[in-house]
Symmetry: C2
Amino acid sequence: MRSIGKLVIIGVGLIGGSFALAMKRAGLVGQVVGVGRSLDNLNRAIELGVIDAASQDPAQAVAGADLVMVATPVGQMGRVFDAIAPVLPAAAIVTDAGSTKGDVAQLMRAHLPEHLAYCVPAHPIAGSDRSGAAAAQYGLFEQRRVVLTPLEATLPEAAEAVGQWWQASGARVFSMRADEHDAVFASVSHLPHLLAFAYVEMVANKTDAARCFDFAATGFKDFTRIAGSHPEMWRDISLANRDALLADLRAYQAGLAQLTQWVEAGDGAALEQMFQHAREARVQWAQRFAQGV
Amino acid sequence: MRSIGKLVIIGVGLIGGSFALAMKRAGLVGQVVGVGRSLDNLNRAIELGVIDAASQDPAQAVAGADLVMVATPVGQMGRVFDAIAPVLPAAAIVTDAGSTKGDVAQLMRAHLPEHLAYCVPAHPIAGSDRSGAAAAQYGLFEQRRVVLTPLEATLPEAAEAVGQWWQASGARVFSMRADEHDAVFASVSHLPHLLAFAYVEMVANKTDAARCFDFAATGFKDFTRIAGSHPEMWRDISLANRDALLADLRAYQAGLAQLTQWVEAGDGAALEQMFQHAREARVQWAQRFAQGV
């Protein structure tokens, strides 16, 4: 497998930091340079051995890079691509870790038009409500999925190299079109995050909120875990995957209106049938998920 | 502490079974008789040592009982109370484990009018998506909360005895009015269950459902865990706590409509502010919950 002489991680958080650790452990990287806005976070990343050197200037950092991973929120990627475009080594592969892919492809086309052959949009599926360099961990990607959505212009060998590095981190690598990716992730990830945020917000605004929180237990805990996620990141995702999300939000609202009508009418049979159907789908999914299918 | 010569558990599942195990471990019970509709489940409960004897006839079982716990779905309680009313020992305490309390109080008033002094409605908060006698476990109630909602007619010593038995199981015991209880649990438990069922149902009905489930990960797993819950139980809860639930469903739908409008308008600032506010509430709650406050 091709090794990475110099790896530049722009955005040293959970994903970028854990990828750096994975490449180090696999012995696949020479030097890791971390780039970020917060000096505190970069110093922490150096202390923890996540990166070897730090910079606050992406353009300066990418000199001599073999692989540049942009692991910032999607909303910052345009500026990052602009900054590195004039100085990227000709054959440096550029990848990302964004949760939406259609918009990242568009940003690459707009801001790295000369470099598209080496652009490999990617989405490692390893969410967590933790963030920052201190959240980086060995083994984060073991058995996790990574979806690559290569551009039409992407060189197959560039996509292959990125896929192999991710495999070396323990992940299972898939490829699909950006629009397919975005529809799937609107449904299984982005929508539930929005639903969880909206739910916690509703409870927090109740007049008996304090008593409610007092009696919230494990069901509440699991259901709302993702409402502890990074607000800026989820703002960006909400905007970036707007169309797919709106379609899902509308479908969900229609389902909820139906459910509300059943509760109002006291239609126990309809409620039980829906609960049963949903439960079966959930149980089947959980079995497959536990087996890593 | 008063001990229970004969404990009758009507509905030998997670809650009833675990309560029996807790009383046995605490040395507070002579004999445990389990009552249920399924012989398989009752036999399993005997094999596992959860109960000492089984019956399919509640009226027969309660002869000589000191404590009768009705741990069936709320929808079955009326029939159970009717069946035991004529044969209950005069000073047998009757308690339940239902997730709603206003309706249980009403059922007790309607079906056990001569016995209200010994009726102690209770809600042990130890949810799980597992059910049946095989789910019964030691220690289920350690550090969990149990809310008692005594009737006006309930004798203080009956409520106190039930509270002490729950304390002996490791639980922390609270008392409040039934309507206060029901409003709180609509918000922190019943609503999220309905939201989770509706969400899984929506995904399961998508044309790309199979691909969606393929890429669902840990966020999806936690958010949907409660959609694996017992359909009949949740049908009963939805009907039993209808008014509080409808108020919350409407508040949630209003919040979701607002959120959808922000996504549609691309209002990143409004989205981020809401996410941030919800996140802070969730983080603060999680800290308190972890400390067992």
